[in-house]
């Protein structure tokens, strides 16, 4: 009896996976083996799989952009309707913020000019950058991976590791380059790790993505107390980015062990980003 049920199980499995079904051009097991070969070769960066990847991405990104147009229109309408409901509150808040910023601006202008003068005096390093403006083609931030696709690739001199900026704010870095498109890994992704400075305490640390809309500060010494509303900038360590690019500010927290960073830029609203390649120049 037991042998018979085992036979039935094996027959059903064989029929499902090995036998080519009616109306099917390929057998399931052949395609599964092909997939496993692609995965294994992809892991070891085989040239053929790399070419397959690049061509597939070119086609998929462009097609995805076209297919997403109706949904993006609906999202745009939904967002603009939502914004209309809060326009008065937003206006009052922005007026107040503008006043604060104007007073800060005068201070920062003086500090920037003083900083440049002092750098020249101590024969320090300056940074120059090649900037490329890129349009966001796909911003489908899946629950597992937070990334965007932009319409500039290797033909526009985009290189791995370039910084992606929303205006003055850092939003991520280029992790994958195809011929005419690239993928930018956002700072909120779980796999993103950026060396940062926490100002005004001047603490060096690592900003890690959480997979949600905020980041978290890792690897600080337990004894150090960090104020709420401290600002987070790139530290320039590891020479990935130039130092001093604004990223975000610390959120109000009672638990010093879990320092959350609220990003200055809203990653769900990115339409264009600037891809920057920083170079050090010694004076």
């Amino acid at each position: 009896m037991q042998a018979s049920s085992r036979d039935d199980f094996i027959i059903a499995i064989r029929s499902a996976f090995i036998k080519k079904e009616n109306k099917q051009k390929f057998s399931l097991i052949a395609l599964i083996i092909l997939t496993l070969i692609i995965l294994t070769l992809g892991k070891f960066n085989f040239k053929i799989v790399d070419y397959l990847k690049v061509s597939l991405k070119e086609v998929a990104y462009r097609s995805s952009f076209v297919v997403s147009i109706p949904e993006n229109l609906v999202v745009k309408m939904y967002n603009s309707t939502k914004e209309h409901f809060f326009v008065y509150e937003e206006n009052a808040r922005l007026k107040e913020e503008l006043n604060n910023q104007l007073s800060k601006n005068y201070n920062s202008e003086y500090i920037i000019s003083e900083n440049t003068r002092l750098k020249e005096v101590i024969d320090n390093i300056n940074y120059t950058s090649d900037d490329v403006l890129a349009k966001v083609l796909i911003d489908k931030q899946s629950p597992f991976l937070k990334s965007i696709i932009v319409n500039k690739g290797s033909r526009d001199d985009i290189k791995l590791g370039m910084a992606a900026m929303d205006g003055e704010y850092l939003v991520g870095k280029v992790v994958d380059v195809s011929f005419s498109t690239s993928r930018v890994l956002l700072l909120s992704d779980l796999n993103s790790k950026i060396p940062v400075d926490i100002i005004p305490q001047n603490i060096q640390s690592i900003l890690s993505g959480t997979g949600e809309s905020h980041g978290t500060i890792q690897y600080t010494q337990e004894q150090i107390f960090i104020d709420e509303e401290s600002k987070v900038f790139t530290s320039g360590a590891g020479e990935i980015f130039k130092p001093g690019i604004p990223i975000g500010e610390l959120e109000e927290n009672k638990d010093q062990a879990n320092l959350k960073v609220k990003f200055f830029s809203d990653f769900s609203q990115l339409r264009f980003v600037i891809l920057s390649n920083y170079k050090m120049e010694e004076n």
Partner: protein, 172 residues
């Protein structure tokens, strides 16, 4: 005569709707993220592939499912081949269920779907994590599995209705 031809084209179009839905869903990744519903997500291609492989295996070719998996990986940013493997395994599970089932019913299909997506997601994310060293938020994956499982019952009824309308309720 021309009306008959037009009717045939329309019928042909209706028959191809599962394929169109699959292509659009992998290219577009309906995620509803703009609603700001924390953790909410579900995997529509899983539901679509399982249902149509189970009820009308000819509607979605394995080659096309394989290709849509590759496209999905390119769009989402996963290692190329991982979604294709998941989709093909789902086809295998549904083909197995079809072979052993004499009298199909929704509850049995539904719970087998739950078991299928648990196994397939485990294989998929274990491979991504161990083989490709990509970190994943496991609570999000679990919520995704749960919503995908719950939504199967709803979509199954919609697809049943569509099938009756298009094919007259006959299973291929």
């Amino acid at each position: 005569m021309s009306e008959i031809t037009r009717y045939n084209y329309f019928r042909l179009f209706l028959e191809k709707i599962p394929i169109l839905l699959l292509i659009i869903s992998v290219l577009n990744e309906f995620d509803f993220n703009y609603l700001n519903l924390k953790y909410f997500s579900f995997n529509f291609p899983f539901i679509l592939i399982y249902y149509w492989s189970l009820k009308r295996s000819g509607s979605l070719g394995y080659g096309l499912i394989f290709l849509s998996g590759l496209i999905n990986d390119a769009v989402v940013g996963l290692p190329i081949g991982i979604s294709a493997l998941a989709y093909l395994l789902i086809c295998g599970f549904s083909a197995y269920l079809r072979n052993i089932t004499l009298r199909p019913n929704l509850i049995k299909d539904w719970f087998f779907f739950g078991f299928t997506i648990l196994v397939v997601n485990s294989i998929m994310y274990a491979t991504v994590n161990l083989f490709f060293d990509i970190k994943i938020l496991y609570p999000n994956v679990l919520v995704n599995i749960l919503f995908t499982f719950l939504f199967y019952a709803i979509f199954s009824n919609i697809f049943d209705y569509y099938q009756k309308l298009t094919f007259g309720g006959t299973n291929a």
